[in-house]
């Protein structure tokens, strides 16, 4: 029997509404701090809800040359910050990237601001040249990977995964498969999400967002009986995936192992989730990792704070994990829904918890409903060792992804 190549995480990076680096974010997670606030532009634009994760744009002048900055959209800036941190965390410098084949797979599913601003310029001037030289490179869905591969001189696999709110999770799962199958030794994987007011108007229009405007930090309340919708958010998250022996040989610090990836598609409604589909993804991930439900110490739920999504996930988790009473939290209670980035960000969040032996709380979970009452949802920071965790991500169109990460 051929020995299966193992895939490990040797670096993590994050830029989100919980902080601008892994240390700040670990502190916020431990303290159960919310990153949600109000964006005045959304009120002016006609949003039903002005609530959003508050993410400060990084200052890149001095870090990147003009051409690189001009081509980089907002989500690309966040992804750059997270990737630079993850590479540093992994002990990778530009010389290494120049001398070795490294790939990149990022989850991203929109770059609305660049598209809308270009359209506005054309309407006002009747002249496409005046859109400027960066517009095309900012407005394509693959903007993050096309820019980062140029900035970091990457020569391996290079593409963007678009799978709605499961994009970031699938990117890590697929990266793991490329390495496991011997096609690559190292891939930068992650997720990115723009937070500008132009990007979320149509989602707001569905009435899916919380309007708890008087209490922004209490607006995102996954699994809670009194939730009234999700809060959009964003940023950038990156992990350095590497083949185990390759990491050992390089003397890299191995943080965790990507042990299992499971996926499925519901084959049903475009916006409604499914307990059946998510169970298929979770069971596949557990089987792929060679673990059983009893081996999972913590579950980072997808739960976005919408009635439909939380209910179906609660049903699925209850069916699979009820004998184990496994601790569960949705970090979206603090971050809001980081959409295309969420799956990758939640791997960074959960890996930080694993590294620091704590479980972050599901803040704002005050009263369960008939489904969440069956789950062990943790409302306080819990100091506990995590040897293995499961992270769920589900998206529009019924795309499901689940990842099992193990301590090594």
């Amino acid at each position: 029997m051929i020995k299966r190549r193992r895939v490990v995480i040797t670096g993590i990076g994050i830029y989100s509404c919980l902080g601008k680096n892994i240390d700040e974010v670990a502190k916020s997670l431990y303290e159960g701090k919310s990153g949600i606030g109000i964006d005045p532009m959304r009120i002016e634009y006609g949003y039903r809800s002005p609530l959003t994760g508050i993410v400060e744009r990084p200052v890149l002048k001095g870090l990147l040359d003009r051409r690189m900055r001009v081509c980089l959209a907002e989500e690309g800036e966040y992804a750059y910050m997270a990737t630079a941190e993850a590479l540093k965390n992994s002990g990778i410098d530009m010389d290494y990237l120049t001398d070795n084949e490294v790939g990149i797979l990022f989850g991203n599913d929109s770059s609305a601001k660049a598209v809308i601003e270009s359209h506005t310029t054309a309407l006002q001037t009747k002249d496409t040249t005046l859109m400027g030289s960066g517009a095309i490179f900012q407005s394509m869905n693959s903007t993050v990977t096309m820019n980062l591969s140029t900035i970091f001189k990457l020569r391996g696999i290079n593409m963007t995964i678009s799978a709605a709110c499961a994009s970031g999770s699938h990117a890590i799962g697929l990266g793991m498969m490329f390495i496991r199958d011997g096609l690559q030794d190292m891939i930068i994987c992650g997720g990115a999400q723009e937070t500008n007011y132009l990007s979320m108007g149509s989602f707001d229009g569905l009435g899916a967002f919380s309007v708890r405007v008087d209490e922004p930090t209490k607006a995102s309340r996954p699994f809670d009986r009194d939730r009234d919708g999700l809060v959009p958010s964003g940023g950038g998250a990156a992990v350095i995936l590497e083949e185990y022996e390759h990491a050992v040989k390089r003397g890299a610090h191995i943080i965790a192992e990507v042990a299992g990836y499971g996926f499925s598609s519901n084959g049903a409604n475009i916006s409604q989730p499914s307990d059946v589909g998510s169970i298929v993804a979770m069971e596949r991930a557990l089987k792929d990792a060679g673990v059983s439900v009893e081996d999972i110490d913590y579950i980072n739920a997808h739960a976005t704070s919408t009635l439909q999504g939380d209910t179906f996930e609660a049903m699925a988790l209850d069916k699979l994990f009820s004998p184990c009473h496994t601790p569960i939290s949705s970090t979206k209670s603090m971050t809001g829904h980081e959409c295309w980035m969420a799956g990758a960000a939640e791997i960074v969040y959960s890996t930080l918890m694993m590294r620091n032996s704590f479980m972050a709380p599901n803040i704002n979970f005050e009263n369960p409903d008939e489904y969440s009452q069956n789950l062990n949802i943790i409302t306080q920071t819990t100091e506990k060792k995590i040897d293995a965790y499961l992270s769920n991500s589900f998206g529009f169109g019924g795309t499901n992804s689940a990842l099992v990460i193990k301590k090594i």
């Binding site: 040359d65 003009r66 051409r67 001009v70 002249d127 040249t129 005046l130 400027g132 030289s133 960066g134």
Partner: protein, 80 residues
């Protein structure tokens, strides 16, 4: 508008927005070879010139514009 004023505006945006080293901005500097202005930068220069001088550069009129001095002179023909 005097040529010195045109040169001052052009030099300012080449330094501030295209981020070219000020010491390179000599009249006989070649736009491409000496200043490193490529085709993508040129798109942004079209946008900036439109904003600063109120006209749209036509690429065919730029065929013989190779140096910074020739670029100032080209703008002079448009702003007079």
């Amino acid at each position: 508008m005097k040529r010195e004023e045109v040169a001052e505006i052009v030099n300012k945006f080449l330094v501030d927005e295209i981020e070219i080293e000020e010491s390179l901005l000599k009249e006989d500097a070649l736009l491409k070879e000496d200043l490193g202005i490529d085709s993508l930068d040129f798109v942004d220069i079209v946008v900036i010139v439109e904003r600063n001088f109120g006209f749209k550069i036509k690429p065919e009129e730029m065929k013989d514009v190779k140096t910074l001095a020739q670029f100032y002179d080209y703008i002079m023909t448009k702003v007079k």
